[in-house]
C-alpha cells in the first residue's frame, strides 16, 4: 500500500516528537535520514517543513542536503542499484558492471528509468570488499562476485517483484 503524503508527513512529525528533536538544530541529519526513508527523496515542501520544525534556516538545510551524497532532492528509482566503485571492487572489474547496468536499463547514472522502476548509482566502498565486485540493491540486498552476465538476472528479479 502506498501511503499518502499526509500520512508520511504525520509519520515524520511523530518521529520528530518521539525523539524530542523539535527545535534541535543538531538533529537535522537524523531527521533528513528519516524523511528520505519515508518519501524516497527530499522534496522542497519536506525540507521547508523540517526547517520550520527544527528551527534551522532553509538555506542551512539545503547546505546540508547538498553536502552529503546520501541525500537527494530528486526522485530515485523504486529500486536503487548501487554499484561499488571502491578500489577493491575496481580491481575486480566494477566499472564493467556499472556500464552494463546503464546499458541494460538505458539510463544515465543517478537518474530513474522512464518507468521509475530503477536508478543506478556508482557508490564508494560498501564494506563488503571480500566479495568484490559488490552490488547492493535498495537497503540490504547484497550481490557479491558479480559478473557482467549476472546483471540481466539481477534486474529481472526486481522486475518480477515489481
Amino acid at each position: 500500500m502506498v501511503k499518502s503524503k499526509e500520512e508520511l508527513f504525520k509519520e515524520l512529525e511523530n518521529f520528530i516528537e518521539e525523539n524530542g528533536y523539535e527545535g534541535k538544530k543538531d538533529a537535522l541529519i537524523q531527521v533528513l535520514h528519516k524523511a528520505q526513508e519515508l518519501f524516497g527523496y527530499l522534496p522542497a515542501d519536506v525540507l521547508e517543513y523540517i526547517s520550520d520544525k527544527l528551527d534551522v534556516p532553509l538555506s542551512k538545510v539545503y547546505g546540508v542536503v547538498t553536502f552529503y551524497n546520501f541525500f537527494s532532492t530528486k526522485p530515485k528509482g523504486k529500486h536503487q542499484i548501487k554499484v561499488c566503485l571502491g578500489t577493491a571492487c575496481y580491481v575486480k572489474g566494477a566499472d564493467r558492471i556499472f556500464e552494463r547496468f546503464l546499458e541494460e536499463l538505458k539510463v544515465n547514472p543517478d537518474e530513474p528509468t522512464s518507468d521509475g522502476m530503477f536508478s543506478v548509482h556508482g557508490v564508494r566502498c560498501l564494506g563488503a570488499c571480500s566479495m568484490a565486485p559488490v552490488v547492493m540493491v535498495d537497503e540490504d540486498d547484497f550481490y557479491g562476485r558479480v559478473t557482467p552476465d549476472m546483471v540481466p538476472q539481477i534486474i529481472s528479479k526486481y522486475k518480477r517483484e515489481g
Binding site: V64, F70, L85, R124, L126, S130, A132
Partner: protein
C-alpha cells in the same frame, strides 16, 4: 545474493584479541557476551581511580587504530585534565576507507566490546555522554548496535549509577550520510552537530575542544575494543604482542586479487608478504603480483621489493610503507598502473569537500592529466607536473584528505615511472 555482509572464517595462525568473540557469540544476546567475561573489565575499571585507568592504557602503549596511531592514553589524559561542565566520548565508526571493513565486522560480531570500551573511556576522562557515528550505509551494524545499547541499558551497564558506582553514562547512535571526509574527526564532530562535514582547523584538537566546543575523546572502533582487553589482562600482557613502538595486534583486510579475501588479526610487525601469501593464500589464478596498496586510498603503493617490511605505525616513516587502516589491496600483473592511479585519484576528487583550493583544484587537475595519459595523449612534462601538484596539495591542504594526496600518487608514479612514460606518446597501454 548473499545474506550477511562479512565473512568470518578464522585462519589458524591468527592471534585474536580484538576479534576474540567475533563468530563465537550471538551478537544479539548480551548474555553470551557476559558469559565470556563481558563487562568484567568495566566492573574492574570502576573500582580503579580514573587516573589509574588512564595510566594503565598509557603503559600498554595502545595507539589509535583509525590510521594515525596517536597514543590513546595520552589522548585520554588531555581530556581528563581539561576542566569542563560536559565532556564527550565519540566512536568513529564512519569507516570510509575503501577496502576496509574491519569495524563493520567488529560491530556486527561483537557490539558489546565496543560499548564496554566506550563506557570505560567515559569513566576515565569524566565524560557522561557518548555517540557512535556510523556510516549510514551500514544498515546491519546500526541495527545490531541499537539492540546492544538497549540491552546494556537494561542490564545497568549504561544509564545512571552504573553498577552502583555513582558514574552515569549515556550512549547514542548518529548516522553518517555518505561523505568520506566525515571520518576526519573534526568533520565528524561538525556532522554530529548537524552541519556539513567540513573539517575544522587543528589545533585545537578535539581532546580539549571538540563536540559543542567541549573536551572530546574520538577513537576508532578497533581502538575502543582493545580497551576492555587491556583492563582485564593488564598492560604487560598487551605489550607481549606486536612491536616495541606499536604493541598489540592489528585487524587487516585482505582484498583485490588475493586468493583468500577477508579479515585477519595478527600481531603488529607482520610483513606484507605473510599477509598476502601465508594468510591470503597468494595471488589469484597463480598470476604475478604487480603492486600492493597498503593503508587505504591515502596509503602507499609498494612493489614486490618491499614485501618484507614489518608493518606497524612507524613503517611509513622508516620504510615508506603505510599501515593506515590496515587494508592490503593486491593488484596482479593484468592491471595498468595508470588506471590504478586514476581510480584512486578519482576517489579523492569525488570526496574532496571543496573547502580549500589545493585539494579541490589539485585533484581535478591530477585526474585530467591522468585521463590524458591514459588516452595516450600525455605530454613529456606531465609526470613532473603531477608530482608538483601533488606535493603542493600535500603541503598546503587544510585537512588530512588533501594532505595525503602525494602519498599514493607519488608512490605509484615512482614505482612505475617507465610504465607511465610508455603511455606517454603511445596511444596504447602496454599492459592492455
Amino acid at each position: 545474493q548473499i545474506k550477511g555482509t562479512v565473512e568470518v572464517e578464522k585462519v589458524a595462525e591468527e592471534t585474536r584479541i580484538v576479534l576474540k568473540n567475533v563468530g563465537e557469540i550471538d551478537p544479539t544476546r548480551i548474555e553470551e557476551y557476559i558469559a565470556r567475561d563481558g563487562y568484567f573489565a568495566l566492573a574492574k575499571a570502576l573500582q580503579m581511580e580514573p587516573g589509574e585507568v588512564i595510566e594503565e592504557i598509557k603503559r600498554s602503549g595502545l595507539r589509535g587504530r583509525g590510521g594515525a596511531g596517536f597514543p590513546t592514553g595520552l589522548k585520554w589524559e588531555f581530556t581528563y585534565k581539561a576542566s569542563a561542565d560536559q565532556k564527550y566520548v565519540l566512536c568513529n565508526a564512519d569507516e570510509g576507507e575503501p577496502g576496509t571493513f574491519k569495524d563493520r565486522l567488529i560491530m556486527e560480531g561483537d557490539p558489546h566490546s565496543l560499548i564496554e570500551g566506550m563506557i570505560i573511556a567515559g569513566y576515565a576522562v569524566g565524560a557522561t555522554k557518548g555517540y557512535i557515528y556510523i556510516r549510514g550505509e551500514y544498515h546491519s551494524s546500526i541495527e545490531i548496535l541499537k539492540k546492544a545499547i538497549e540491552q546494556a541499558y537494561e542490564y545497568g551497564f549504561l544509564g545512571e549509577n552504573i553498577l552502583g558506582s555513582g558514574f552515569n553514562f549515556d550512549l547514542k547512535i548518529r548516522l553518517g550520510a555518505g561523505a568520506y571526509v566525515a571520518g576526519e574527526e573534526t568533520a565528524l564532530i561538525e556532522s554530529i552537530e548537524g552541519k556539513p562535514a567540513r573539517p575544522r582547523l587543528k589545533p585545537p584538537y578535539p581532546p580539549t575542544f571538540g563536540l559543542f566546543g567541549k573536551p572530546t575523546v574520538v577513537n576508532n572502533v578497533e581502538t575502543f575494543v582493545n580497551v576492555p582487553r587491556i583492563i582485564m589482562n593488564g598492560a604487560e600482557w598487551f605489550k607481549k604482542f606486536g612491536t616495541d613502538s606499536s604493541p598489540g595486534t592489528k585487524v587487516f583486510s585482505l582484498v583485490g586479487n588475493v586468493v583468500r579475501k577477508g579479515i585477519v588479526e595478527v600481531p603488529m610487525g607482520v610483513t606484507v608478504r605473510d599477509l598476502i601469501f601465508k594468510f591470503g593464500g597468494g595471488v589469484e589464478g597463480g598470476r604475478k603480483l604487480k603492486v600492493v596498496q597498503t593503508g587505504g586510498s591515502a596509503g602507499t603503493f609498494i612493489g614486490p621489493d618491499k614485501l618484507d617490511v614489518p608493518l606497524d605505525f612507524d613503517s611509513y616513516a622508516k620504510y615508506g610503507v603505510s599501515l593506515g587502516s590496515g587494508v592490503i589491496l593486491v593488484a596482479d600483473e593484468t592491471h595498468c598502473a595508470v588506471d590504478l592511479a586514476l581510480a584512486v585519484m578519482r576517489f579523492f576528487e569525488h570526496e574532496s569537500c571543496g573547502k580549500c583550493t589545493p585539494c579541490r583544484e589539485g585533484t581535478r587537475m591530477i585526474v585530467n592529466i591522468l585521463e590524458r595519459i591514459s588516452r595516450g595523449e600525455g605530454k613529456k612534462e606531465d609526470l613532473d607536473t603531477l608530482r608538483e601538484i601533488a606535493r603542493n596539495a600535500g603541503e598546503t591542504s587544510f585537512c588530512g584528505l588533501g594532505q595525503s594526496i602525494p602519498v599514493p600518487l607519488l608512490s605509484i608514479v615512482d614505482n612505475f615511472e617507465e610504465e607511465f612514460r610508455a603511455h606517454i606518446g603511445a596511444n596504447k597501454c602496454p599492459v592492455g
